[in-house]
Point group: D2
Chain length 257, copies 4
């Protein structure tokens, strides 16, 4: 703990292997909501490799609203994700929910994600502050700009300034979209913190047809990358199928950016 | 009144003099929040003319939260706006709040605006439905997508399908920005109604520094135009000074689109 | 227009015939969402008379989200409501949406209501400010406390301080209830304006089973009355059937207050 | 994990020492936001004892938005709270934020609280599901009714059905109050889950003057208890001073319930 804010707007660039966040070229993170099996994640990764992408995502511990929903494959799933990332030649990112697993996960994953539901989980933020891997910090679903900045500051204060921010939509009164994508947060957070900011239009809208226009808009207002749910077979996905692109749809989207 | 919806997604193009909404080329609407004097609006219009713009905006009846705030110059102000538009060679747009004035205002103005506070004012919507001028319908500050579509449908049902929609930010829990600009509404409303959709980043964010990134983002996701507050002397504006661009700043913004 | 606020917290009592708002005894306003026919409103009024109530409500101009929904019987409906009120021996209240009708409506009605969708309709507020009948001003569905105070101030500034406020729920992210009933607004608005404040749990929750607990809660925190939708045959009501009580259910509720 | 919901509306009564939640008599939980020192918490507890109260509250691990704010005294603070509760002859409740501490805290505390920021922290919910002490589960600051029910179900599924729910206000667009107290949630959650539901007007409004009317309203709509911040010296409190009552103000409030 320092006694003064560390994220004061000074621009930071985050390197993960060959991938760089914040240097102008948008980073494309893609992959399934959940790792469902070894075959599924490897197949998706290889199809994405053909299209061209930069980071493979996949959840292995899933924060599900209902205890009766699929909770993820756990560390075994992370091994599959690692293998898939290696086969595709890209770094991997996965969400941590639990202090107990951080060390084990940090060994296998290249970036650790703090999900929307854990943005206010200060013990978890402190814990990833002590990790030597970059952290992707999603905005809480109804977090104010100020609260989001302070959540990043928690991580920084505990020793880790390699933070990538991710706008993923906020909760509003309208139910047409899953969330309300708050793109103004992109230039605001870049200016306030100096950190790279990416956008997740999959959770931000929940509607496949909006991936293209909102991805373009995100990059147009300065986003340093995109995080997109891609599944080789969305209709049979265990979660978030309706908002998942196929690798082919991802290719189409990529060609228009 | 027809007995079936008229706005079913079929694409419509709206022509106002030489200006066309919905044909690919973004329309730039600019001008002061309020017409404050003949000199002010003419000066702003001439400075904008030098930069290049398409429609002059200016409020003459102002829906102010407080009865103690400046309420606008009324029809006299509209004459000034007309004169300024003519000098700049562009059509003009102004807000109607009151059924009584619609006819008089429709004679002088080229586009009539329904402001955010009146999106649910159904008698007013019906009245402008009978007018032979295009209507710009702003989204209510906490209107759902469905309510906004239905508000447009009111206008259409009463005889006027020349409607331009305008996303201007919705009310959320965060107070960092004046409103939360909901850019996903642009592709959604275009698809649902077929009408042109423009974006007002001035009210949508309330922060001058966000005009540039959010204007770019709006166009990137398909907006048919932008509505921007421009004042020749923002520091002395009677309303919305802090979010108003100078003509010079508008020129800078325009050069980056 | 005075140049200073008139609603500064000084307590006001509003008399309408034998009914008094703001004097400790809660006023019960009841009746159907819409006047649907002479028979319907008279039957409901007579059944309510047996139970005991204070003011008869009924909409004749309805602000409906969709232009295809029932828009009300207009002035003919108001005559029916007047007749029903007279037969029940109680004053009547109905919503005005349109400046054109205010005079005609003020002749027949005892209280004029400004609905939630018109709280920001400043020309309408100014117009009812000139009327010699009490005004019931509902809170806009996402109006801040400050905006609501200012809306009442508009009415007062134009000459009418006989204003009754009505909390009817605000829009939030949750869809379990129709709106989120903000009961803290009751003591706040009483203190800030000095005006009587009533509560509408029908729109505030949209769920029949919540009428009883929320009515009790409203009175417990100081509400000066309640406005409840009561229909003699909710299943066949033209609007708001699911949230309407039968006169018998109203009697049950009344007995528990 | 059972394969079916356990919280299906069957009424449950929770006993903690001599205190019973859900049996008709409202339970008063009072105490400071944070345990600041041994003296402070003992003095507050003894003053509350004179007034009469049922459970002593006090935070020792504080989820603060800013890492620079006071984070609590930790387990040492819990020892002070235990001593204060014993001196006052009442059970104690404190918030757990971290799986690591649950066992140690469950040894000293009588009720463990899951705070608003952790309602979506599923590993924590699972962990307290395995504890043999009652859990007070606060509603997330923008949790829907359904999400709140599911959060309680997580705890129940992992073995602990002794859950008390606490409505503490939700986030809305208005900033007049700290949060919007959603009292309709009280009868809704009682019916949906069968669990006792209490109300926290301190966080729910953030305004001292609203404690009295909102406490009355909470009990009127069926709340099984109240949770109130009480500090012997609010002006010098390390957190939440402005919304804290003095023991004398608490006595005044209690006398009116």
């Amino acid at each position: 703990m320092k006694n003064k804010p560390l994220l004061t707007g000074e621009k930071r660039i985050i390197k993960v292997g060959d991938v760089t966040f914040g240097e102008g070229k948008p980073v494309l993170i893609a992959g399934p909501c959940s790792v469902e099996s070894r075959e599924q994640v490897i197949q998706t990764a290889l199809e994405l490799k053909e299209v061209g992408f930069h980071v493979l995502r996949g959840g292995v511990f899933k924060p599900r609203t209902s205890p009766f929903d699929f909770q993820g494959l756990g560390l075994k799933g992370l091994e599959y994700l690692r293998e898939a990332g290696d086969k595709a030649g890209v770094p991997i990112i996965t969400e941590v929910m639990d202090e107990h697993n951080i060390e084990a996960m940090a060994e296998l994953a290249d970036i650790l994600q703090i999900g929307s539901r854990n943005m206010y989980n200060y013990p978890l933020l402190k814990s990833v502050g002590k990790v030597k891997k970059p952290i992707l910090l999603k905005r809480g679903m109804s977090a104010t700009i100020k609260e989001w900045i302070m959540a990043a500051e928690y991580i920084a204060q505990y020793g880790n300034v390699n933070i990538i921010l991710c706008e993923r939509g906020i909760r509003s009164f309208d139910t047409y979209t899953r969330n309300t994508l708050d793109l103004a947060a992109v230039p605001i957070m870049k200016k306030e913190t100096g950190l790279p900011v990416i956008v997740d239009p999959s959770h931000g809208t929940g509607i496949k047809e909006l991936m293209m226009p909102m991805s373009k808009a995100a990059l147009a207002c300065g986003a340093d990358g995109l995080m997109l749910e891609v599944h080789h077979d969305p209709e049979n996905a265990l979660c978030d199928g309706p908002q998942s692109l196929t690798p082919k749809q991802f290719a189409e989207l990529k060609s228009h950016l």
